[in-house]
């Protein structure tokens, strides 16, 4: 069992993701903004963070991922980005983890199937 923080402004997605994760024995808590999520991560030190991108503004999730990586208290916490930014912004490319600017374990595109979610979570927790 792991303690997982979901940072997303979509309440329905939080509920659905929580249900899948709890079914697999994880303990879930959440934040609805990037800044709230960052503070909660520092305070709670979860085992894993699932992080949305478009919240207060279009790229806040990317900024939070870097802030978590740069903060001594949270730098070792694994992060998975879960985002719909590519479709929402008509981007001609998919984002991928990048050690220079996007220090995360994986980038998943919404909607994420329960199977892919669990597989990615397990992989990130084991790493």
């Amino acid at each position: 069992m792991a303690r997982i923080l979901i940072v997303d402004d979509d309440q329905e997605l939080i509920e659905a993701t929580t249900a899948v994760l709890e079914e697999h024995g994880h303990k879930v808590f959440y934040a609805c903004t990037g800044s709230e999520g960052f503070n909660m991560a520092k305070l709670e030190k979860p085992d894993l963070i699932l992080l949305d991108v478009m919240m207060e503004h279009d790229s806040v999730g990317f900024e939070i991922a870097r802030a978590l990586h740069d903060d001594e208290a949270t730098s070792s916490l694994p992060v998975i980005i879960i985002t719909g930014v590519r479709k929402a912004k008509n981007l001609p490319f998919k984002f991928e983890p990048d050690e220079d600017w996007l220090p995360v374990k994986a980038v998943l595109e919404k909607p994420v199937s329960p199977e892919l979610l669990i597989e990615s979570v397990d992989k990130a927790l084991k790493a």
Partner: protein
Amino acid sequence: MPKLTIDGKPVEVVDGTTIYDAARKHGIRIPTLCYLESIQAIGACRVCVVEVEGARTLVASCVMPAAEGMKVITNSRRVREARRAVVELLLSEHNGNCQTCERNNDCELQAVAFDLGIKEITYEGGKTKADVDSSTEAIVRDNGKCIKCRRCVAVCTQVQKVGALFPQFRGFKTVIGPAFGRDLDAVTCIQCGQCAAVCPVGAIVEKDHIGRVWTALDDPTKTVVVQTAPAVRAALGECFGMPAGTLVTGKMVAALRRLGFDTVFDTNFTADLTIIEEGMELLSRLKKAVKDKKPAALPQFTSCSPGWIKYVEHFYPEFIPNLSTCKSPQQMFGTVAKTYWAKKIGKKAEDIFVVSVMPCVAKKYECSRPEMNDSGVQDVDAVLTTRELGRMIKQAGIDFTSLPDEVVDPIMGVSSGAADIFANTGGVMQAALRTAFEVITGRELPFENLYIEAIAGMEGIKEAEVTIEGTLPEWSFLEGVTCKFAVAHGIGNAHRLMENLKSGKSSYHFVEVMTCPGGCIGGGGQPRLTTDAIRKNRIKAIYKEDAGKKVRKSHENPKIKQIYGEFLNMPLGEKSHHLLHTEYVSRDRV
């Protein structure tokens, strides 16, 4: 098929071949100062005179057709003396100042005079008065150095169809220049610099930016950043005696570091950025036209080439809405360097001095356009041509050919192969299609090695069409749509294409135009003299550079993803619109 002899050597040529071409084809060199392959043979300079048995006088070989039974002598005392007399007469009125002339050691008149063994100028008389026109941002003309060969007139009128330069008056008083003695900035000159690229002497040259670059490099308060256009790396070696088409990317980077540039980036990075912005702009116009059934400015024209932009503004202002609003890669680079990168290194825009190295003369004009200051200051501070960079390297005493290969600096130095081919005619189109097709279908462009032969090569206007099948759900409105593309290089070909569009003879969705013949590899700022054979060698080198890249598509460049993720947010978004896009103005057709 006339059979003749040249210097006793029997030769056979096709009908209509001139003596000059016949000799050249058979390895016999005849000096000339006005001939331009496939463009001009007017016998203006008279340096190419030869003896033809039975002819009353010597004949100009560049205009005299080879005829059956003709006996030609290219190397007799009479010929040598006549050529010497002609060149001495040219020298007697040429206000050359060789030692301080930009063309010193790169001057065809100087070379011919040397080859003919001219030791003194026996003719005395008037010299053409120095008359310098530096009214434009890109080109400087000095009539005092002009030898009236009319090469510039030929390229401006026949190749580029701009017609900004004419011969006026007669004899000694002949002047080559804009009509009615106007300055270049008062006429429709598009500042492409093709005139400077063919001028045999120092009468037409680019406006020198070397001084301002040295000043910036010596200024400890400035962070000096350099970008190099893709075409430069396939030609710079020629300044140091290397064969045309020698790729010198690594040596060029090493030389730039030794010149003192703080950071060596690559225009290729913003070429990739251009593809993302321009590709998405095209798709949004297609969506508007096909799905929303609303008027959309199609075909969309590429906007990388500043001479082409100025040409549309002067000659086809009704087509301004069709121009992509994307800035050229050079200008995107300047803006991004002074905003995104400045912030990254904790500097202000005014602390950074951006230098471009371009194969292009018009880029000097482009960077001075009043729109090009979205960073808050002028986005690009100085533009060096390939030739100017070659001169700077020599001024610094750098032994270019023995330099090691070095690599560009990260982030704004990282690029895909798609960016390399911006240098060639058809390259921007190929790069755009590599991305757009994949966005629409989720599949890779179905051409071997991502190379679309129909839009490559030296044909003046090239066309292609693709019927889109197997679209992703969000692009299903394009299912079955046949998209038509055209590529033109050299403004004369663009003129033909525009007339066909205006008359309804042709219709396209996307059109690429590069101002110079062959594209940027044949730019007005490249080492002289660019022939078709040299263009082909440079193009070959650029495709080699593309093929050798790990990433071949702009949308797969990881640093492009980074700049969107960190800074721009999204293509065609608010920030992109402000920093990466521009507007155009309708200009008089004087």
